[in-house]
Amino acid sequence: MAVEVNLAAQPQKGHVLAAWGLIGWRWIWRSPAAAIVPLLQPFFFLYFLHLISDPSYFPLQVAGAMIFSTQNIGSWCLSDSAVFRIELRLQDIFVASPHDKVRYLFGVAFSNIIPALPALVALGIILAMVTSVSLTAWLVIVACILIIWVLYSAIGIAVSSRLRSQREVWPVGNLIFTLLGILSPLYYPLSRLPPVWRELAQLLPATYAALLVQGSLGLEPATATSLAIDAGLLILSTAIGLALAWWLYQWRER
């Protein structure tokens, strides 16, 4: 028997970020490895790169690891969103609730930045120890991290909405985020890349984030004009990426 529910009489507002923040916190509290792995992940790569490359690249690699860690949040958003929908079958509840898809996106992204924060803070401390970081450079780093966080989380959630099985989560997430991580010059200067690859990398927002961060830290030669162009291209490529994610994102079943 169907029951009439007066939706207007139900609560229409809630503390979305606080609720998702609690989910993020509970997740790392209940599964310590979930907190340890994101913390360690960038350091594994840094350790390897530190061994094989010229030590003068280390500050650049630490800054790159900060962007790489932020980019990886997208992969966790993809995995979380897929678990909520496919395994826990919670999507219908999200859709039926006053919690719309933009709040859902920010909620999942917010809950997933929590496990990444210790790594970002630790990398920030290391960066300050290995190179001089001005206030402007810190502002640029934080802005780039926020932009990459929103964009890659949106990509992760959008892609996740198209997955049909848990089995697809790992390969698809790995394909997208590892590939994007490799293509952008996060751990080396753009000039070290072969020409075709360099042009391909210039299509990616993370490349401009890396160039901005490297330029503002004085790790790579940059002028005020080139930094302004990089900032403009970062915003443009992020807007295109968000539009694509919005188009791909399937909030409710058709």
């Binding site: 094989i52 678990v83 089995r167």
Partner: protein, 248 residues
């Protein structure tokens, strides 16, 4: 029969797993991305190490098979809830473990053959080096499959498993000298890394391939550790599979 092994259904389950995995071509392709990323880092930043990294990539790919066993076994048990059906069927627990590990080995071999072809072009291996490489890769597969299977049985949901899976592959594959030469490791740590199956295997192959020099004692230590670990772990995997079947 108490201690005897029952292998009923091994062939069928192995064939099933191979078929299932070949349908997951995306997973096979993406399995190459992390070693691919490290190969690219080396090609750009230290091209002189590329042969060592290619051998490391082969060893890492074998270790990654364990991660795939972990995901697959967890997926069968948690998501598909097929374990009880398997336990009730004539398929024996040992056949289940060997079938899943063998299926992954066959399915994930093609990308490794591609890496092997590149290695053969850049740094041709002698017959002995081929034999050592094959033996070492099989030993790493035995260890990683067991770790993957045992870890998969310890969790109740897929989401909890992923971080552990990533942690294991990084701790065994990226931190020790698998993708880089053992000469980069401080002397006091050399014996320890030779005891690890991944770095032990990589160092042995690099040494036989003439890519780095280790002492006779170090070679014996690495070879003995790898042999003991692979046999002991694989036997433990079979024991664990039987134990898991008994408890449910």
């Amino acid at each position: 029969m108490a201690f005897g092994l029952r292998w009923g259904g091994t062939g069928v389950f192995l064939a099933t797993e191979i078929r299932v995995q070949f349908h997951e071509w995306l997973a096979i392709v993406t399995g190459t991305l992390t070693p691919g990323a490290l190969l690219i880092f080396v090609a750009i930043l230290a091209p002189e190490l590329i042969a060592v990294t290619l051998i490391g990539s082969l060893v890492y790919s074998m270790f990654l098979i364990g991660q795939r066993v972990l995901n697959e076994a967890a997926y069968i048990r948690i998501d598909h809830k097929l374990n009880e059906l398997y336990h009730a069927s004539p398929l024996s627990p040992e056949a289940y473990f060997v079938g899943i590990a063998g299926g992954m080995l066959v399915a994930y071999l093609p990308p490794s053959l591609f890496v092997l072809a590149i290695l053969e072009i850049l740094h041709p291996l002698s017959f002995v080096a081929w034999l050592v490489l094959a033996a070492c890769l099989l030993a790493v597969w035995a260890v990683s499959s067991t770790i993957g299977y045992v870890v998969s049985t310890l969790f109740k949901d897929m989401k909890t498993i992923w971080p552990y899976s990533a942690l294991l592959t990084n701790l065994f594959g990226i931190v020790p000298p698998v993708f880089y030469p053992i000469r980069f490791v401080p002397t006091e740590w050399r014996s320890l890394v030779l005891l690890l199956p991944t770095s032990g295997a990589a160092v042995l192959v690099n040494s036989v391939a003439g890519l780095e020099t280790i002492s006779g004692n170090e070679a014996i230590l690495a070879a003995a550790a790898l042999a003991v670990e692979s046999v002991a772990m694989f036997v433990f995997g079979i024991y664990w599979a039987r134990r898991m079947a008994r408890e449910r």
